[in-house]
């Protein structure tokens, strides 16, 4: 869903330069790793195939988290486990970093193929990121693998000391996850045009819980292979499977929620209260302005809900306002619609912040409404003035009118942010 909206904001749906760079790097690395492994031969094929199969299974079961983030926790954890592997049931694991990359790449491609077969094209950038993160860890860790194995190996009569190995694993995995989050934030900042700092905070918020689970499971897998031999692979899948199921449910309900509010916001259009597409356009414009102003993802979600439902109060009116343009309706009535809409949303018992945003969408700057309300007020007025036209002069005229009322009716900062957003939009539609 998110993709569609992005496409509407920026019709050029091609990949960003950053994404392209990432995919190229991953592709080159894959080719190098596979050809190298083919040349020197596969070290410990049984282990490689076992881990490769787990990676493929994890890739098959990938899921999309809120914000259109594709993740494959089981696959990533298996890759971590293979990169961190010291021994399998006492026999030292001597595979090179390049072999780790090759196994990962083959596993990911194998797991991605069924998706392609049923018509779900792979998200190349997400796959490339997963591959590169795993490779990073492999290249940093594999050179130490032998000395760590020596310190941890069981000697006759006593168990080995695993604390050093565990420490090194924990540090390197943390570094890898940090790098991954930074790359993700950079890509996202470019993709949705937001500040890097905001994107970084969003990525950490979204990625930290799952990242911690994946990291713990990866280390677990490496340790379990020592004490359980290959039995570790199926046994290990259990904790992560539970996590995966929980996250899939969570991601599913989040997506459904957004889809439902988007869909139901259209009842005002079907009822003839507002012009077709009004709610959707206002929410898209509001989101773009919110990003421009550096709002974080949870704030943007509230903004989107409020923008989609900002006219829901009209349903309580006896008859639709002619043309539905609330900017031209009389202010008292507009305020009543806002109150009625907030009343409807408050009935959910949960979306209190959204109700408050909707309630204050008509407030003047002096009344100090929340930022989201100010954005919706301006976006709503703009859309009423141009009513879906993409004409450049009309857009400029509408902006000029908002600027004139800047400081009293509309927040000047919001209007300026809107001017920048609209400028980009018009530019793109013209091309």
């Amino acid at each position: 869903m998110r993709e569609r909206r992005l496409a509407a904001v920026r019709p050029s749906q091609g990949l960003d330069s950053g994404q392209l760079l990432l995919i190229c790097a991953a592709g080159m690395l894959t080719v190098a790793a596979i050809s190298h492994t083919a040349a020197v031969g596969l070290e410990a094929p049984r282990v490689a195939v076992g881990f490769g199969a787990l990676i493929a299974a994890g890739e098959l079961a990938r899921l999309t988290m809120p914000g259109n983030r594709e993740v494959a926790p089981v696959s990533t954890a298996a890759a971590l486990g293979y990169a961190l592997l010291l021994d399998v049931g006492g026999a030292e694991a001597r595979h090179s970093a390049l072999q780790v990359v090759a196994v990962m790449a083959v596993g990911m491609i194998a797991g991605g193929l069924p998706h392609v077969a049923v018509g779900r094209p792979p998200r190349l950038d997400a796959m490339a990121r997963r591959l590169l993160a795993g490779s990073l860890l492999a290249f940093a860790y594999r050179p130490f693998a032998h000395s760590l194995f020596e310190s941890a190996r069981d000697r006759p009569g006593e168990h080995g000391d695993w604390w050093l190995a565990l420490g090194v694993m924990a540090v390197l995995v943390t570094v890898m996850l940090t790098a991954d989050v930074v790359i993700a934030a950079m890509l996202r900042a470019e993709q949705v045009r937001t500040a890097f700092g905001v994107a970084l905070r969003d990525e950490i918020r979204m990625g930290a819980p799952l990242g911690a689970a994946v990291a713990a499971s990866g280390m677990l897998l490496a340790l379990a292979s020592h004490s359980m031999d290959m039995t570790a692979l199926p046994a290990f899948a259990a904790p992560l499977l539970v996590t995966q199921v929980a996250f899939r449910k969570y991601a599913g309900i989040r997506a459904t929620y957004l889809q439902t509010v988007r869909a139901l916001s259209r009842v005002t259009e079907v009822g003839g209260y507002v012009e077709p597409g009004h709610s959707r356009r206002v929410s898209q414009l509001s989101l773009a302005i919110g990003r421009e102003l550096g709002m974080s993802e949870p704030q943007l979600l509230e903004l989107e809900y409020a923008a989609l439902m900002h006219d829901i109060g009209q349903l309580s009116l006896r008859d639709p306002i002619p043309g539905g343009a609330t900017v031209l309706a009389d202010p008292a009535q507009a305020r009543r619609i806002a109150e009625l809409g907030a009343e409807v949303i408050r009935k959910t018992g949960v979306l209190h912040a959204v109700a408050e945003i909707v309630r204050r969408q008509c407030d003047t700057v002096a009344e100090g409404p929340p930022a989201a309300s100010r954005i919706i007020k301006a976006a709503n007025a703009y859309d009423d003035l141009i009513s879906g036209s993409t004409d450049r002069d009309r857009a400029a005229a509408a902006l000029e009118r908002l600027r004139l009322a800047g400081g009293t009716e509309y927040d000047p900062a919001v209007v300026e942010a809107m001017a920048r957003v609209v400028d980009r939009l018009v530019l793109v539609t013209r091309l």
């Binding site: 677990l220 340790l223 829901i312 006896r318 979306l351």
Partner: protein, 451 residues
């Protein structure tokens, strides 16, 4: 304790007594607990306590499964039956404010018995105590499975007896499906215990952190999932009600149709996912009604063909609105065709009999029933008996007889709460009322023939 019936009291005393005896025998009689590693036992007991204090809500809403028993199973392997019983006993001290002492004692007692039994089963099936060695795998799986089976079975039986004696949960309240799910997740958790035991030889207590971290993250995600799900249900209900405010008399219609539809769905044996979909389909079936101009609904007397066409369009409008909601899927057809008739004289497509999607046949029955049993501006609510008779009369012409009989059966079992009588709207307030209800089979819309 006082409110428990006497069989439950007897059972409780017997259970706690047995647990006490087992523990006394295990701890006092040599040679048990001589070679026990007390630090291992302590860590496992702490782990058990921690997990017991934060029960993980799983798929089954009524039953809280805690992962604590994986710690008890790890103790079975590492320390033996007496150790496992001691670990289980710590449930008495779990940090759950408000948990009465009786329940604590019961939990502690039954976990101790379960732990002891699991340890016994493990040894009987040929398992060896102590740190598992690499060569034990995968052979250790057999005794471990025996221990798990003993633990789960005894835990289940002991708890079920108590619940039954105390009459907390009726027998038919716990469906077979949820029991199966419950047992499956229980067995799944057993693996964690094995992982903890297996990793003990490398990093000792840290292994529990590595095993449990993903679980706690899962719990976090599930918690968010449940919160979002509740929030979603509330939001969809509120939005549907907002759509209904246009007509004073149809308030609450969507929630009632949703309830009646899911009653029928349950009766004909739908699975969880489809039940969920039919619930939302019932809720959303009339969102397209806003597209019908108010003046058409408020018009008294016959409608022109054009006006009737506007009414007939509403299922399509509804479909148009909800099409963006992916998971509804099958429910789309239910919303689009909920005014088709069994004899093929309905709208919008004129489908007949089995051509009409199942969801639509269900919603049609629920829709008409609620319409008849609520007040309308032009008549009072009919009684449930009258509405049922009317449904049965029209079964085979307007309604699918199968769905009607399923609904009648479900009504007999669960009953029905018709909406309260709507007070006549006070004259000075502007309220919307309609003279037409397109759902009402007792007052079909009259159309003027324009020929």
């Amino acid at each position: 304790m006082r409110e428990l019936p006497w069989p439950a009291k007897v059972y409780f005393v017997a259970l706690v007594g047995t647990a006490g005896l087992l523990l006394a025998r295990g701890t006092l009689m040599p040679p048990a607990l001589t070679g026990v590693d007390w630090s291992t036992l302590l860590v496992l007991a702490l782990l058990f306590l921690l997990c017991e204090s934060v029960p993980t809500l799983l798929n089954v809403p009524q039953v809280a499964v805690s992962v604590s028993y994986s710690a008890a199973l790890a103790a079975v392997v590492l320390v033996g039956p007496e150790g496992a019983a001691l670990v289980g006993l710590t449930a008495v001290f779990s940090v759950r404010p408000g948990l009465p002492l009786v329940k604590r004692l019961f939990n502690g007692g039954q976990y101790a018995i379960c732990g002891y039994a699991a340890g016994w089963a493990y040894e009987r099936a040929g398992g060896t105590l102590g740190l598992p060695h690499v060569s034990d795998f995968p052979g250790i799986l057999v005794p471990y499975a025996a221990a798990t089976a003993a633990f789960v079975a005894i835990n289940f039986v002991l708890t079920a007896i108590m619940l039954n004696l105390a009459a907390v949960v009726g027998r038919d309240q716990v469906s077979l499906r949820s029991v199966a799910q419950f047992l499956a997740s229980y067995v799944g958790y057993a693996i964690f215990g094995l992982l903890i035991a297996a990793l003990w030889s490398t990093v000792e207590s840290i292994s529990t952190v590595l095993v449990l971290l993903p679980l706690f993250v899962a719990r976090w995600a599930l918690g968010h999932y449940h919160a979002e799900q509740r929030s979603y249900d509330a939001t969809i209900a509120a939005l549907c009600q907002a759509v209904e405010t246009k007509d004073y008399y149809t308030r609450g219609h969507c929630t009632r149709v949703s309830a009646a539809s899911s009653m029928i769905g349950e009766e004909i044996g739908m699975g969880t996912e489809r039940l969920r979909a039919i619930r939302y389909a019932g809720m959303l079936h009339d969102v397209g009604k806003l597209g019908v101009p108010t003046k058409v609904l408020q018009k008294e007397g016959r409608l022109t063909e054009e006006e009737y066409a506007a009414i007939q369009l509403h299922p399509m409008r509804g479909l148009e609105i909800v099409r963006g909601i992916d998971f509804l899927d099958e429910a789309y057809a239910g919303i689009m065709h909920h005014h088709e008739r069994h004899d093929g004289k309905g709208y919008p497509m004129g489908l007949a009999g089995p051509e009409i999607p199942e969801f639509a046949r269900i919603i049609a029955v629920a829709d008409a029933f609620d319409s008849m049993t609520s007040d309308r501006s032009y008549r009072k609510a009919k009684t449930i008996e009258f509405a049922v008779a009317e449904l049965q009369k029209n079964a085979g012409t307007q309604f699918d007889p199968l769905m009607v009989s399923a609904f009648v059966k479900a009504l007999g079992r669960d009953g029905w709460h018709p909406p309260e009588t709507v007070p006549v709207p006070p004259g000075d307030l502007p309220v919307e009322t309609t003279m037409k209800d397109h759902d009402d089979p007792t007052a079909p819309i009259q159309v003027v023939s324009e020929r």
